[in-house]
């Protein structure tokens, strides 16, 4: 293994150190410079000036959970595509055919997800009782630029 390999990663490690110091320094500096006059009301969670009601950490729709699961599966698929793309000029037609087979199978899964409505956020077929979250009532108003 050439020496530049380690040299590159040592530089990255060095950069990580500098960045960590920078970010940590910002937190410490703002802690030192800022004033501290806490009061009970000031420390309570913001709820548009009203007295906060209930626990903020509620349970949420299964929809988010599903997205994360589907994401893992496709992420695994994409990770296989990188080495394939890098040596594609060696594989050529053979490489195309083997990846086509792979993509067809995964694509069948994608089509199935689509058909079963896992990718829909408005329907109520797979989500919690009120359907997906963020459905039509949630984000209805399209906000203009600030």
């Amino acid at each position: 293994m050439p020496n530049t390999y380690f040299q590159n990663y040592l530089v990255i490690l060095l950069m990580l150190g500098v960045v960590v110091l920078l970010a940590g320094g910002m937190i410490v500096l703002s802690y030192l410079l800022g004033q501290h006059r806490p009061s009970r009301v000031k420390l309570s969670p913001y709820e548009c000036g009203m007295v906060p009601t209930g626990d903020a950490r509620q349970r949420f729709s299964v929809k988010f959970y599903l997205v994360a699961m589907v994401f893992i599966l496709f992420d695994v698929e994409i990770v296989f595509l990188y080495p394939w793309a890098v040596i594609f000029h060696e594989l050529r037609m053979f490489g195309f055919l083997e990846m086509l087979l792979f993509l067809l199978l995964v694509g069948a899964g994608f089509a199935y997800l689509w058909k079963m409505g896992v990718l829909d956020w408005t329907g109520s077929d797979t989500g919690g009782p009120a359907g997906g979250t963020g459905g039509s009532p949630a984000g209805g108003r399209a906000g203009g630029p600030e």
Binding site: L66, D75, W84, L105, T133
Partner: protein, 177 residues
């Protein structure tokens, strides 16, 4: 220099793993697990397997742990309650662990030739090497992966369906609005 770095990362991996077990709140455990993944990725990097290291971060730390964190966030899992440990675990836990570790060490020691040493950066782990292995030598396992992914996708849908069928009106799944 490299030995020192190795011990730093290996120590970090073990430290995070122990922290994972000791923490009471699941989110802290999840964060420790991310730390373990990152330390392992650094160890892969030191061996010269940069693609594996990147894949480790992208898939394990970036995707699977996101799911873990989501589950903790979504279920609002609270602090773990310490139960009175069973007498069996109390007295036999440590000896059994030691037995397991020694037997594993014995097996590995027999497999590996006596004078063999791991050389840092000596692993043919560059992206192109991995690609050649994967798409020329191990073609069948690669194609089987697609079937595994397909099965997992179907499993995901089935899980979600089951959830909505057993959904009673009183179940505590509150949607966003």
């Amino acid at each position: 220099m490299y030995q020192l770095l190795f011990f730093v990362f290996a120590g970090a991996a073990v430290g995070f793993a122990i922290n994972l077990l000791l923490q009471r709140h699941p989110i802290h455990s999840a964060l420790s697990l991310i730390g373990v993944m990152a330390s392992l990725a650094s160890l892969y990097l030191m061996l010269g397997a940069e693609f594996i290291a990147a894949a480790q971060i992208i898939v394990y730390a970036g995707a699977i742990m996101v799911l873990f964190v989501f589950v903790i966030m979504l279920l609002n899992a609270g602090e773990e309650e310490r139960t009175q440990r069973s007498r069996f675990a109390k007295y036999l836990g440590l000896p059994l662990i030691l037995l397991l570790v020694t037997s594993m060490a014995a097996v590995i020691y027999r497999q590996v030739p006596q004078d063999a040493m791991v050389r840092f950066g000596d692993f043919p782990g560059r992206t192109a090497d991995i690609g050649r292995r994967l798409f020329l030598n191990y073609l069948l396992p690669f194609e089987v992966v697609s079937i595994v992914i397909l099965v997992a996708i179907i499993g995901t849908v089935v899980l979600a369906r089951k959830d909505s069928e057993t959904e009673g009106p009183g179940k505590a799944v509150v949607s966003e609005k």
